[in-house]
């Protein structure tokens, strides 16, 4: 146990105007038990305490401290309880990550137009997107954006439930990082796209890196 603190100031020094209240408060806060400080209303920011506490009060408190010997560490259980009460509990337990660490994500995203940065889709929610997909050589293999603005009014963006493995992994993971209104370019490596097979009888060859420009229109 720490050695008992010693009196620093005599009664005369305490009464003197040379000794600022702040120093006295600091000493008492540093050395007194929590319950002592509470009783004497000496808890909290020194500046604030200095505003509310009068010098006379502080002298009384100082003297009582040494008389009662209610120094820090003399009431450990109580202090622990206070600490525990003071700790904030998280409402939701943190989700345990079940996924085995497979390494870095196999896609990259560059934001072309920022979204609202507030509405991010969650797994299982329905999202809708306009998109254009092309190969590395520039061939466009798929798009749902009609050619004229007038036609675009007639068609709907593609909607699907995100994060459930219904679309290629690059899309699932990529769209989850987007917020409503965002337009992004996702460059997806083959492992998170159509892999070694590609899509037979289509423009997507085996081992193709796919580039999608995606606009996240709405989130459920």
């Amino acid at each position: 146990m720490a050695a008992e603190p010693t009196r620093e100031w005599s009664d005369e020094q305490l009464k003197s105007d040379d000794l600022p209240k702040k120093d006295m408060i600091k000493f008492i806060q540093d050395n007194a038990a929590h319950s002592f400080l509470n009783e004497h209303k000496l808890l909290g920011n020194i500046k604030n305490v200095a505003k509310t506490a009068k010098k006379e009060q502080l002298i009384i408190a100082y003297n009582e401290l040494f008389e009662s010997k209610r120094f820090k560490g003399t009431e450990p259980i109580e202090e622990m309880t206070e600490h525990v009460r003071a700790v904030k509990l998280d409402d939701k337990p943190k989700e345990v990550k079940e996924i085995v660490d497979e390494g870095p994500p196999k896609f990259t995203k560059s934001v072309l137009k920022k979204g609202d940065k507030t509405n991010f889709p969650k797994k299982g929610e329905t999202v809708s997107c306009w998109y254009t997909g092309s190969l590395e050589d520039g061939t466009v293999f798929d798009t749902n954006i009609p050619t004229t603005a007038r036609k675009k009014k007639q068609t709907k963006p593609m909607s699907f439930k995100v994060g459930l493995g219904r679309v290629i992994r690059g899309w699932d993971e990529g769209v989850l990082t987007m917020s409503k209104g965002e337009t992004a370019r996702l460059v997806i490596e083959p492992e998170w796209a159509y892999g070694r097979k590609g899509v037979p009888d289509s423009k997507i060859p085996p081992n193709a890196t796919l580039i999608f420009e995606v606009e996240l229109v709405s989130v459920d």
Partner: protein, 614 residues
């Protein structure tokens, strides 16, 4: 009737017609008598049939007669259509003129009934001709019905498709080109027929979308449409769904390389386009088995609205024939695609109809091919279709009458095995050994097990399924004789041979000192429950068949006609007994089988002995 009386009758009819028409002039049409109706109808018919259509035409065109024409004219449709269908009649132009006038003058609802009645004909040729003749008039009449046309359109489309269903379907490329029964022409005619209604439905959709945009909500099906508009969409949907079943599920579409211009392929493409136009997303339809759709307020319940068979047909068109590929999103994961298609495949393979089985196999193959080998996880086997499809496949492989489909089925079966990862393969093999109840299939599975063991024994491929902990339980399911020594070895030949091949392989490949597969420690059990009873069974069977052979040869020599213990009748005819020559051949073949089994068994025993002595 003699020629004279006929003329008389015709003349009389004309008189009666002119008469009744005159009587009705100036009379309000709601007070025409039933008698007037009947006279007009009968007399009119006779006039037309007897070739007096010129006169009928002038009566019908007469301004003073427009009330009666509007009220009763439609009753002349039957005889008119008969003439028009004949095509070579000299009265054709006049009848056509009468017909066209009636279309304009009479009430649409009544014309509709009259025209629809005329669609129903007896033979295929007339059906095709009447469709060709009447689709255009029907369209005109429907367009006159205004916003209340939906239910009439539905009735019309339903009748038309019922008639189309009676036409024989072309199978080969040449048959499609020749189109002798005009099915292709009918389908081709249907496209312009529905076009204005599809346009209207598309416009309705657009308008409702605009409305909802103003109110800042997404339209869901019937929410923003009036009942009439929703009914129109529903009738067109019903039409598309029906065509997907027939004729589209019946025909084998030809690819562009085979047949550059294919009316049926065009028709199928148009149906897909129509679905999109009326607001039914093709991906949603195809993936419907897995998507929980929101309850759309409307006419029909989900299952009626989207018949499973039609959706399966649609999936086939999209994934096998790549129709409307440009508008189908390329973002869905191959496994999701497979899972959805399994439902369609299951449905198609559960039919006995060969056309559906073929499409089921094609769809299955196309879905599997997109997935990488060894990538499907055992979890998928918890899904019902992943078990029922192989079971349906077994039926196809073993009892489908068409050889090409049996072969195709086997190919699909092996392809599906290849796509499973190791753990899933293991689980699948156990399942098939347990449930297939067919020696050939079991033998095939056992061959696959051998392949997997071989792979796992290669450096770097070690796994706990085909080596290690799980292998022995699987092998115990392989090395069994269902009825012990009494097992019918001929019936179980495939399975027994493959089991012996596997055992021979293990005994050669796995060194006694290494015992990677555990076979050496298991061997004594296998000898007990499999090898020993097999030896006994073989000896017994061999003895039995040798005796049979002797007897048969004796019987042949002495030319005694043996009354067979067994006779087979088909219908009421008894099939001839097997000739002695055939019997002898069969018995030799059985003995040969036993020899084969015996030789592998002996070889295995030799190998075991050698290794035991090491």
């Amino acid at each position: 009737m003699s020629g004279e009386t006929q003329l008389e009758a015709a003349g009389m009819a004309l008189e009666q017609l002119s008469d009744v028409v005159q009587r009705c002039q100036g009379v309000p049409d709601d007070s025409y008598t039933t008698e007037a109706h009947d006279v007009f109808t009968v007399a009119g018919r006779i006039c037309i049939e007897e070739g007096n259509s010129v006169q009928v035409l002038s009566i019908v065109l007469d301004d003073k007669n427009q009330d009666i024409v509007r009220c009763m004219g439609w009753n002349l449709l039957p005889p008119l259509v008969q003439i028009l269908l004949k095509k070579e009649d000299k009265d054709l132009p006049h009848c056509l003129a009468i017909f066209n006038h009636l279309l304009k003058a009479c009430r649409p609802k009544e014309l509709l009934i009259g025209l629809l009645e005329q669609l129903e004909q007896d033979d295929a040729d007339t059906i095709a001709e009447s469709l060709h003749l009447l689709l255009n008039p029907l369209q005109k009449v429907l367009l006159c019905l205004g916003s209340r046309k939906a239910s009439s359109l539905g009735m019309t489309l339903s009748s038309v498709l019922d008639q189309v269903a009676k036409l024989p379907v072309p199978h080969t490329k040449e048959q499609e080109e020749d189109d002798v029964f005009s099915l292709c022409r009918c389908c081709t005619d249907l496209i312009p027929f529905v076009r204005p209604f599809v346009q209207e439905a598309r416009q309705n959709l657009l308008n409702s979308k605009k409305q909802s945009e103003v109110a800042d909500k997404m339209p869901v099906g019937g929410e923003w449409s009036s009942p009439d508009k929703e009914e129109l969409r529903t009738e067109l949907l019903k039409f598309c769904m029906k065509t997907l079943s027939h004729p589209l599920l019946e025909v084998q579409l030809k690819d562009p390389e085979t047949l550059a211009v294919s009316p049926l392929r065009n028709f199928a493409t148009e149906i897909l386009n129509t679905l999109s136009a009326i607001g039914e997303s093709v991906p949603s339809l195809v993936y419907q088995p897995l998507l929980k759709r929101k309850e759309v307020p409307g006419f029909l319940e989900e299952e009626v609205r989207y018949p499973k068979e039609s959706l399966a047909s649609l999936a086939h068109l999209v994934f096998v024939h790549h129709l409307a590929a440009d508008s189908f999103p390329s973002v869905f994961s191959p496994v999701f695609c497979l899972r959805c298609n399994m439902e369609h495949v299951c449905l198609l393979l559960s039919r006995t109809d060969e056309s559906r089985i073929q499409k089921g196999l094609e769809l299955y193959e196309k879905s599997l091919v997109r997935v990488e080998n060894g990538s499907l996880h055992a979890d998928l086997l918890e899904i019902k279709t992943f078990l029922t499809v192989p079971q349906n496949l077994v039926k196809v492989m073993t009892i489908c009458p068409r050889q090409d489909l049996r072969t195709k089925g086997l190919k699909a079966f092996q392809l599906s095995i290849d796509k499973f990862d190791t753990g899933a393969k293991y689980k699948f093999f156990l399942f098939m050994l347990k449930t297939s109840n067919h020696s050939g299939v079991e033998g095939y599975i056992i061959k696959n097990i051998k392949t997997q063991i071989d792979i796992s024994l290669q450096p770097g491929n070690s796994n706990t399924w085909f080596e290690g902990v799980h292998l022995l339980p699987l092998l115990r399911k392989v090395f069994i004789l269902p009825d012990g020594p009494e097992t019918d070895l001929l019936q179980y030949m495939d399975r027994v041979m493959e089991s012996l091949n596997l055992l021979r392989y293990l005994v050669i490949r796995d060194k006694v000192t290494e015992n990677q597969t555990g076979i050496w420690t298991e061997l004594y059990k296998i000898e007990d429950t499999f090898l020993r009873p097999l030896r006994v069974g073989l000896d017994m069977s061999r003895a039995h068949y040798e005796r049979e052979l002797c007897n048969t040869m004796e019987a042949k020599k002495s030319k005694v006609k043996e009354e067979g213990v067994l006779s087979v009748s088909v219908g009421d005819e008894k099939l001839p007994n097997m000739t002695p020559e055939c019997q002898i051949q069969a018995l030799h073949s059985a003995l040969h089988t036993f020899d084969m089994i015996k030789s592998v068994l002996v070889r295995i025993e030799e190998l075991i002995e050698v290794k035991d002595n090491i």
